[in-house]
């Protein structure tokens, strides 16, 4: 049991990061109906912004973190204005392709400015281990939970109780009707991208502190997709729960399934997708997804 927990908890911590990325994904999908393939690249860019601010410019870490969130917000809005806005009213798959263009643009920009090298954040988070119920857990994992939770709760409250949040949810349901009520749809799409970028950047900073910052961090965008599906494409809370489920199960599968047979070696990598398939077969709209209320 002890051993199981010591496997599970780091898995969940990574899952919290997946959850944050998934949250960013859902934010964009919910508000503008765009499936953002480049979500992982937002994480990557966020991580590097924080690196530049805190290491290269020497700004204190926590200030740099806040600045990163702010700058990412602005970048998100910029991306929306320059690339997504002209696509309003166009076939939805063309808009998805635009996000692939964003994928290329962002990852190549990172390559150009930072090169294919590894960067390390100095250890900001406390490094000592804490004993939780007899298991030694690195504090950085606990910090993952805490920071992820803070960001998530912030987004959740925003959506639940602010007028802007409700307006954004209304756009998700019926964009034109929202427009007819005076909701400035375009501006809110920008806000959605900004928020999404900020949340992803938060995930990027967490990843950076837990691991190494490098141009390949975008891989996490792919891991967020099973998390999103398990949670349900439109559900903010679902994204977080999905992330935790995927992260936890992935770690458990990697440790307990892989050694069972040669065939299962490397199962960790596809296990999230197996879960994805299973969830979709049982609950086609994820655990918390919105079933389209359809009438002919």
């Amino acid at each position: 049991m002890m051993e199981f927990l010591s496997v599970l908890i780091p898995g969940l911590a990574v899952g919290a990061i997946y959850g944050l990325v998934a949250l960013g994904f859902v934010l964009i999908f919910k508000c503008s109906g765009v499936l953002n393939i480049a979500q992982g690249q937002l994480v990557l860019v966020g991580s590097f912004i924080c690196y530049t601010l805190s290491i290269q410019l020497g700004i204190p870490f926590y200030l740099a973190l806040v600045l990163t969130l702010g700058m990412s917000y602005l970048f998100g809005v910029l991306i929306e204005v320059v690339l997504l806005r002209p696509m309003v009213g166009q076939p939805v798959l063309s808009v998805v392709m635009i996000t692939i263009a964003i994928f290329f643009i962002l990852s190549s920009l990172v390559m150009i400015f930072y090169g294919a090298t590894y960067y390390n954040y100095p250890t900001y988070l406390p490094t000592e281990k804490v004993q939780v119920a007899g298991i030694a857990i690195a504090t950085k994992y606990l910090w993952c939970f805490i920071l992820a939770a803070v960001l998530f709760v912030g987004v959740f409250l925003f959506f639940r109780f602010t007028n802007q949040g409700i307006a954004m949810r209304s756009i998700a349901d019926d964009e034109m009707a929202a427009e007819s009520l005076g909701v400035n749809v375009r501006r809110l799409h920008g806000v959605a991208w900004g928020l999404s970028f900020a949340v992803s950047a938060g995930a990027g900073v967490l990843l950076g502190t837990v691991m190494t910052v490098y141009y390949g961090l975008g891989f996490i965008g792919l891991k967020a997709i099973p998390a999103v599906i398990v949670g349900g494409l439109e559900s903010l809370g679902g994204a977080m729960v999905g992330g935790l489920i995927i992260g936890g199960l992935e770690a458990v599968a990697g440790v307990y399934l892989a050694p069972l047979s040669q065939f299962l070696g490397g199962i960790k990598d596809v296990f999230p997708y197996v879960i994805l398939m299973l969830v979709l077969l049982v609950k086609p709209y994820g655990l918390f997804g919105e079933r389209r209320i359809e009438r002919i």
């Binding site: 034109m176 009520l181 005076g182 400035n184």
Partner: protein
């Protein structure tokens, strides 16, 4: 208050839908816009409320003036700020939001206490208050229609554009809703531009009417005069003598007359 000066609307740069429409809505009046399917009624409303733009449509000629301000180049949210709110055809509720969230989604940016506005809406539609925490997608058709009208009311509009509120509703419900609309018109001094396919209903509720055909206004006048018009009787109110064979001359007469009118 609202003046449409011979506007033309084009979709996608090729499809001319409105070919010179002129309409006036006076302060506090109820105006009916009648016409059959595809006559361009909904397009006229969207041209006023600025919703055309998200459908690749544009006002290509003429002007729309509201209180002396030209609005045909403004975005939807700016027009709503000026006090024109459209209730779209087909009960476009936000189906995953609760009733109250639906109302709040409309009632944001223009100051004023939301609670007071909510109370106002609930006073017109007491049924909605009972359903305030229900997910609106599961409301009945009539309740949904009430919700969309209530949602528009949250903006305290000076002009309400109502698109086919009767669509797919039982006659009794339609009457109830139209009654409430009339009350809103009287109490709140909201002018109303009512689009109806059901001409009987439309003419009953309003004081002045326009008849549209093929992107043009072919006939207009005070309701009484319209009701008396032979063509309106025949083509919109269905009051032609049953069983009598229509002669080719009648048809010719109608088209000639329409051409003359336009």
């Amino acid at each position: 208050m609202l003046v449409l000066n011979s506007i033309e609307v084009m979709y996608g740069g090729v499809l001319l839908i409105l070919k010179g429409i002129s309409i006036q809505v006076p302060e506090g009046g109820i105006i009916a816009l009648l016409g059959s399917n595809g006559a361009g009624k909904s397009t006229t409303l969207k041209a006023i409320s600025g919703l055309l733009k998200s459908e690749e449509g544009a006002v290509t000629d003429g002007s729309i003036i509201f209180d002396g301000i030209r609005i045909d180049n403004k975005d939807a949210y700016q027009i709503v700020k000026l006090g024109i709110v459209q209730v779209m055809e087909g009960r476009r509720i936000f189906e995953h939001l609760t009733t109250e969230e639906n109302l709040r989604a409309g009632g944001q940016s223009d100051g004023g206490s939301i609670n007071r506005k909510l109370d106002m809406v609930y006073s017109y539609f007491p049924q909605l208050k009972k359903l305030r925490n229900q997910v609106s997608g599961y409301l009945s058709g009539g309740e949904q229609q009430m919700l969309v009208i209530g949602r528009a009311l949250m903006k305290h509009p000076r002009l309400l554009l109502l698109d086919e509120p009767s669509l797919g509703l039982a006659p009794r419900l339609v009457e109830e809703i139209l009654g409430i609309v009339k009350r809103i018109n009287e109490d709140e001094k909201t002018a109303i531009l009512l689009v109806e396919q059901n001409a009987t209903l439309g003419l009953e509720a309003s004081s002045y009417g326009y008849v549209m055909e093929n992107g043009k206004v072919v006939l207009d006048g005070p309701v009484d005069k319209l009701k008396a018009n032979e063509d309106v009787k025949e083509f919109y109110l269905g009051l032609t003598e049953v069983g009598k064979k229509k002669s080719y001359r009648d048809v010719k007469h109608y088209t000639r007359r329409k051409r003359w009118l336009a």
